[in-house]
């Protein structure tokens, strides 16, 4: 499922596409329809039942992470036993010389480096495609659009072979470099720039004698910031969640991201090679690994939603 993270971005496209009614689309949450009518209890209860399906696995994860390995087997999964969370956390962070901390650091580093890089490249290119004239521009853009369909996994194996020829496998570059390409990011930034930057503003700057570079850096970049954050966020999540690429590219556990590391712990624990505490460690490690992303999502969702909406009003 490598292509998933980017697709959240159409949000920009959709907000953008409806610029005409953008201002009455700035609702206070859930309150945009004064005449719409009564709240429905039946509908609410039906949806809450569905919510249980989405939350129960996570509830189970939280409960399971408070149990010792033996209690996982001996007590019912959806209720607490002895509170062993602290002991589990200590195991997670100290096992194999604290390698979990390295995995976490690697994950953050790969995700931030790829996210910032991909967003920067996409912003520059997207702006040029949307706002500047140049021969071959449309043809180049069509190529980028075509590339959105290229399945990333079809690329991973040849990329691995190419990287092994130049000695890049089993280095952080092997994860970051392929993650910098985001054709969908370019598409999004083009759509976004087309709406967020008024042509009249660019005209005025040109009349005042500003160079194209200066226009981009001091005017366009500021207006493109919300779009930049969106691409950054999705590129970041894509790298954070990536499993296939690091699985192929990396051999040294010291370079692993959390996904590959935890999967390795899982196969060790399943093989049952004497180290009994592993199940509770995999579970607790999984819980710890998703907390940053869940928190970031809940927090950033508001940020980027409002960012895109305000970008959408601009023209």
């Amino acid at each position: 499922m490598t292509s998933q993270p980017i697709a959240g971005q159409p949000r920009a496209g959709t907000v953008r596409g409806s610029s005409g009614d953008a201002d009455d689309r700035q609702p206070q949450k859930g309150r945009r329809r004064p005449l719409g009518g009564q709240r429905s209890n039946v509908l609410t209860i039906a949806l809450l039942a569905c919510v249980a399906y989405f939350l129960l696995p996570l509830v189970w994860l939280v409960i399971a992470s408070t149990k010792s390995n033996a209690e996982l087997f001996s007590t019912f999964g959806l209720w607490f036993a002895h509170f062993n969370l602290v002991g589990n956390l200590r195991d997670v962070f100290t096992f194999q010389g604290g390698i979990y901390i390295s995995w976490m650091r690697n994950t953050i580093f790969y995700a931030v480096a790829s996210g910032v890089g991909a967003a920067a490249l996409a912003t520059a290119a997207g702006y040029a495609f949307a706002k500047l004239h140049f021969p071959g521009g449309n043809a180049l853009f069509a190529i980028v659009l075509g590339a959105i369909m290229v399945p990333l996994t079809a690329l991973a194996i040849p990329t691995y072979l190419l990287f092994s020829k130049v000695g890049l496998t089993d280095t952080p570059w092997a994860i970051i470099l392929p993650s910098l390409v985001s054709p969908f990011g370019v598409y999004l930034m083009r759509v976004y720039a087309a709406g967020a930057i008024p042509d009249s503003l660019l005209e005025a700057a040109r009349v005042d004698g500003a160079s194209e570079g200066r226009i981009f850096f001091s005017i366009a970049l500021r207006l493109l910031a919300p779009g930049f954050v969106t691409v950054l966020l999705f590129a970041l999540v894509a790298t954070w969640n990536n499993y296939f690429l690091p699985l192929i590219m990396l051999n040294s556990p010291g370079y692993f991201p959390l996904t590959v590391g935890l999967a390795q712990w899982q196969s060790t624990s399943q093989a049952g090679s004497g180290s009994q505490a592993l199940f509770s460690m995999v579970i607790t490690g999984s819980l710890v690994s998703i907390i940053p992303l869940v928190v970031a999502f809940l927090f950033l969702q508001r940020y980027w939603q409002s960012g895109l909406a305000s970008g959408g009003v601009k023209q």
Partner: protein, 314 residues
Amino acid sequence: MSEIAVARYRPRAVEMPTRKGGGLKRRQAIASYILVAPFFLVFLTMLVLPLFYSGYLSLFREQLAGGTIFTGIGNYVRALHDQVFLSGVLRMAQFLVIQVPIMLGLALVFALAIDSGRLRMQRIIRLSIFVPYAVPGVIAALMWGYLYGRDFGPFAQGARAIGLPTPPFLGNEWMLGSIMNIVTWSFVGYNMIILYSALRSIPTELYEAARVDGAGEFRVAWSIKIPAIRPALLLTAIFSVIGTFQLFNEPNLLRILAPNVIGVGYTPNLYAYNLAFINQDINYAAAIAFLLGFVIMIVSYVVQLGALRRERRP
């Protein structure tokens, strides 16, 4: 491929007549090339080059005696007769036909319910459905693997408590459904958010008028809202197609738990991985990956075409 997208997002700059002297045009062109250059540098080295390299590799075959020889389309012919590959593709087609409609249907229903404004706790519900998207696929597969498990999975525990046989989630017959469930759990919320934001960009006046004319919530949803968000639906469908055929994380993780059920070629992507890294048959793996990309492009194209045709109908 994405004709729709191209057609809809023609650059606005094109409308701007080139009414000024050549100097401005040249300066703009130079600036443009400088701005797109970094992206295309990475694009060429990290996407185009591997793609062509993969195509090149797929035309060769390693010999037992050592050394590689040119076989032309030999690897492709082999793939089209390879039962493991074909059954993997077929399995993904089955997955696509069953799971994607369920996932997108649920996402659409949730999005419409939230957009109707008739829910209490609307914000909490929306975020709760979305939260699984923040869980990496690998972690989701790990977690569900435990939930499905016979030893300490709550389903098995519950079944034992009331004297029923433990449900064979990871058995041969249930496995595909179990994987479908993991993928659905992970991505319903994400698709819902896309559809929901599309719904919110529909001008309210459109259905205020319909309401005044006495249309109920279902009628409004069916006749106004769903047609209005067709582009977003199409987009989610295409991304689901791409995602489905690339399925790897879930089967690879569940394989640890059920090695006898999930074989080397359970999904085409898993097959390519095993060919390349276990069998060391790089050339054949490249051909498989290439064919897989081809299948994805065809199916995405068919989905787009189908949607276009429906749109043209009055």
